[in-house]
């Protein structure tokens, strides 16, 4: 499936007349000095531990992101978009593709209707934080736990249709859009969320990347999940069924308080009785909502909410992993001249609904982020950020760590957008 997908994108690229295209290259370089502190010696989730940050203790100087966006667009409103990223997290460096798609963006008609389509490998429309080049977050260095999970386990491989109604041609300040995606290659989604819980990072999983699982007892030889592979393959198709994601958005260009609201439903529609080479199908369903509103001059609120359920089972239905999950954050940001201060508060949980031995996935946590950004020039920024996360996760007992853990991280970043 993956090879087929790469070949398709390659052939489309070759078939389009390159000489007639307008090509562009943009990106971000984000280097950081990082200091992580936690009461116990927890290992980062990236390395198969229960640590909530993507960085280890004493990470020092790190390449947090090198993102490059290549775009070739034609006069007929078709473009090819390829986003490549490199991440330098210590002991977990990697480079690859995070998105690759062909896009058609039609022109609005005189009533303001516009149709857009995407085909390929792309992010579902959920995050209100990650709206900058290469899915970077212009407001804070670490994404909220909600969007950290989107970056880790969610990517649509399929088709997306967006129908928009722009109000401006009818002298209306309101725009509406309906966004429908049908996708494959997201059958294992839920494994990481359930097994390591919510995390906070700026890391994005790459097309080819495999994600290391924690060594919880249910995975021991002879135990219920012994067949589970040590790494989860997040963008894998196992049951050949299409999933769907639908998002409605309402945008009001109010003069003093413009706002944007979106509500969506995601269902990967997997057949949960499949296991191939240690990769299980997980059913993933959730609703999500987002709000972005200008409260006062240069003061903005961004908030997102998510509630869902995921489960998987063995071939004979002999065991199951089943969890409900919730997440919400509120971010306030104030910007003036070269400055921006952002404060984000979040709360999240996982409720383990099964009785499988050695697999306790309960979690409750709260997070706080305080970030200050200073614009040095049009293209470069320095940003310092403090992240605080308090989580209660009984599974830490499996690796002899305190169940209740407070993790702190201080970061100083130099970011260049080009």
């Amino acid at each position: 499936m993956k090879n087929y997908f790469i070949k398709t994108i390659f052939f489309i690229t070759c078939a389009l007349p390159a000489h007639a295209a307008e090509q562009s290259l943009h990106g971000i370089v984000d280097t950081r000095l990082i200091n992580v502190s936690a009461k116990s010696n927890s290992t980062s989730y990236l390395l198969g531990g229960y640590g909530k940050f993507d960085n280890k203790k004493n990470s020092g100087l790190t390449l947090a992101q090198l993102g490059v966006v290549y775009k070739a667009s034609w006069q007929n409103n078709v473009s090819i978009n390829i986003v490549a990223n490199a991440f330098g997290n210590k002991k977990h460096e990697n480079i690859g593709i995070t998105e690759a798609f062909v896009r058609y963006k039609g022109l609005p008609n005189n009533a303001g209707w516009r149709l857009q389509t995407k085909a390929g490998f792309f992010y579902p429309k959920i995050s209100l934080e990650n709206n900058a080049v290469a899915w970077s977050n212009p407001y804070t260095l670490n994404n909220s736990t909600l969007n950290t999970w989107i970056a880790e386990e969610l990517r649509n491989t399929g088709l997306q249709f967006t129908l928009e109604k722009l109000g401006k041609f009818n002298h209306s300040q309101q725009d509406f859009s309906l966004n429908l995606s049908v996708f494959k290659n997201n059958d294992t989604t839920g494994a990481m969320l359930t097994w390591h819980g919510w995390t906070s990072a700026s890391r994005q999983s790459l097309f080819q990347e495999k994600l290391k699982l924690a060594p919880f007892p249910a995975r021991w030889p002879g135990k219920p999940l012994a067949a589970q592979a040590p790494y989860s393959d997040p963008f894998l198709e196992l049951d050949n069924r299409w999933g769907a994601h639908i998002v409605g958005q309402w945008q009001f260009h109010h003069r003093q308080h413009p706002f944007k609201i979106n509500i969506g439903y995601y269902n990967n529609n997997t057949n949960t009785s499949i296991e191939i080479k240690g990769q299980y199908t997980w059913r993933m369903r959730f609703v999500h909502a987002g709000l972005k509103v200008k409260l006062a001059k240069k003061l903005e609120l961004i908030s997102q909410y998510m509630h869902g359920n995921t489960y998987m089972q063995g071939k004979n239905g002999g065991f199951a992993v089943n969890a409900n999950f919730n997440n919400a954050f509120i971010m306030l940001r104030k910007h003036w001249q070269q400055h921006q201060i952002a404060l984000r508060m979040e709360e999240f949980s996982l409720d383990d609904l099964d009785n499988t031995w050695g697999d306790n996935n309960n979690e409750y946590g709260r997070g706080l982020t305080l970030s200050y950004r200073y614009r040095l020039s049009k293209h470069s920024f320095i940003q310092s950020e403090y992240n605080w996360l308090q989580t209660n996760r009984p599974a830490r007992w499996y690796v002899k760590q305190p169940i209740k853990l407070i993790e702190r991280q201080l970061q100083l970043a130099f970011r260049v957008y080009f």
Partner: protein, 222 residues
């Protein structure tokens, strides 16, 4: 534009002995003045010969609309049927300019610091324009079928120099004028009377700010 007006005047002067400066002041219901309203005068009783001459511009003239700081500058302009617009991109990024309006539909991309001409605008009425990359950008051109057109100045005055006397239909247009077809018309006779004061029946709707609601420069369509 000046050349066209001079040319038309030359033609007109052979048909009309008198010429006058006409001044039309337009006010909102609260008596505040309104700038940048399109005002044009269409002759009612012109002889067919003169009409044919006046209404076919011999030289295709152009108006310039800039794309500056991701805005259309000016937001509103007025041209005569048969003219074109030169889009002058002052930004260092590409804009994808389009018009959604009837027979005056067009679209093209203009790279940073380049310019491009619209097709000849042969259909009268509103040309509503946008940029398909920056949705907040919005601009209008009104295409008229008369050589007598202008916009109100900052004092809310539309001034027509050396107008031939006679009967005209006076039209006022603005995209945010909240009346049928966004247009108000009335017949006037230029002769003894050369100035009019017109109060709009309603205040203009809010004019779009043409500003992104995001303050960051490196955003993508996510």
């Amino acid at each position: 534009m000046i050349r066209l007006n001079l040319f038309c005047l030359l033609i007109l002067s052979s048909f009309y002995n008198q010429a006058a400066q006409v001044q039309i002041t337009i006010m909102a219901p609260n008596k505040s003045v309104i700038a940048n309203l399109v005002v044009f005068l269409t002759p009612i009783d012109l002889s067919s010969i003169a009409k044919a001459t006046i209404f076919s511009p011999q030289v295709i003239l152009q108006k310039i609309i800039k794309q500056k700081n991701k805005k259309f500058v000016p937001y509103i302009d007025v041209v005569q049927k048969g003219q074109i617009i030169l889009f002058d991109n002052n930004d260092d990024i590409t804009h994808h300019i389009y018009s959604v309006s009837g027979k005056n539909r067009f679209e093209f991309k203009i790279k940073g610091n380049k310019n491009k001409k619209s097709p000849i605008l042969n259909s009268t009425g509103e040309v509503a324009m946008g940029c398909n990359i920056h949705d907040w950008m919005s601009g209008y051109v009104y295409v008229v079928d008369t050589p007598f057109f202008t916009k109100t100045n900052t004092n809310g005055k539309a001034i027509f120099n050396d107008m031939p006397t006679g009967q005209y239909q006076l039209s006022i247009w603005h995209p945010q004028l909240d009346v049928s077809n966004n247009t108000i018309t009335q017949n006037i006779t230029i002769g003894k009377q050369t100035s009019w004061q017109i109060t709009l029946p309603k205040a203009l709707l809010p004019i779009p700010k043409q500003e992104s609601e995001d303050d960051f420069d490196f955003l993508e369509d996510y």
